[in-house]
Symmetry: C2
Subunit: 88 residues, 2 copies
């Protein structure tokens, strides 16, 4: 059975985020005030063939930690479902 | 009041995704079979100062569509909350 999985890769707390900082600095001049703590990360969607949800989640977690993120500076969050990707 | 917002920027359907395709092609050799439809996107977290949730969401949506995504090839999904970013 195929399960939709979303992996979000985020920078660990305390790791400098130049992309987020640049966006945050630019926003007031572009008409968006009151926006703080901007952080940038990555999102991945995939379909995983597995016997059940637990297996799909375990596979996805291993894959996310070993291949999609750099554990020295990043955290990977895995969840079943892919609502952001179900665009028309 | 400050509201946490997560913006996910994904490629529109039909737009080629070389990053996702490369990951998908590499996975079997790395010990992860049965993974298909890999797509890569971006995730942003921010805190938005607004009077209420509806205002925060409206601001975030305008910001996401105008500045964080390229509407020709990308979709932006906005939601309140930032669970992926609440890492220890």
């Amino acid at each position: 059975m195929n399960f939709p999985v979303t992996v979000t890769v985020t920078l660990r707390k305390g790791i400098a985020d130049p992309e987020g900082a640049t966006i945050e600095r630019a926003l007031p001049a572009l008409g968006f005030g009151g926006v703080t703590q901007v952080r940038a990360g990555k999102s991945f969607h995939m379909m995983i063939d597995a016997a059940n949800e637990a297996d799909a989640l375990a596979n996805a977690t291993a894959l996310a930690q070993r291949l999609l993120s750099n554990p020295v500076i990043e955290d990977a969050t895995v969840r079943l479902g892919a609502s952001e990707w179900d665009t028309p």
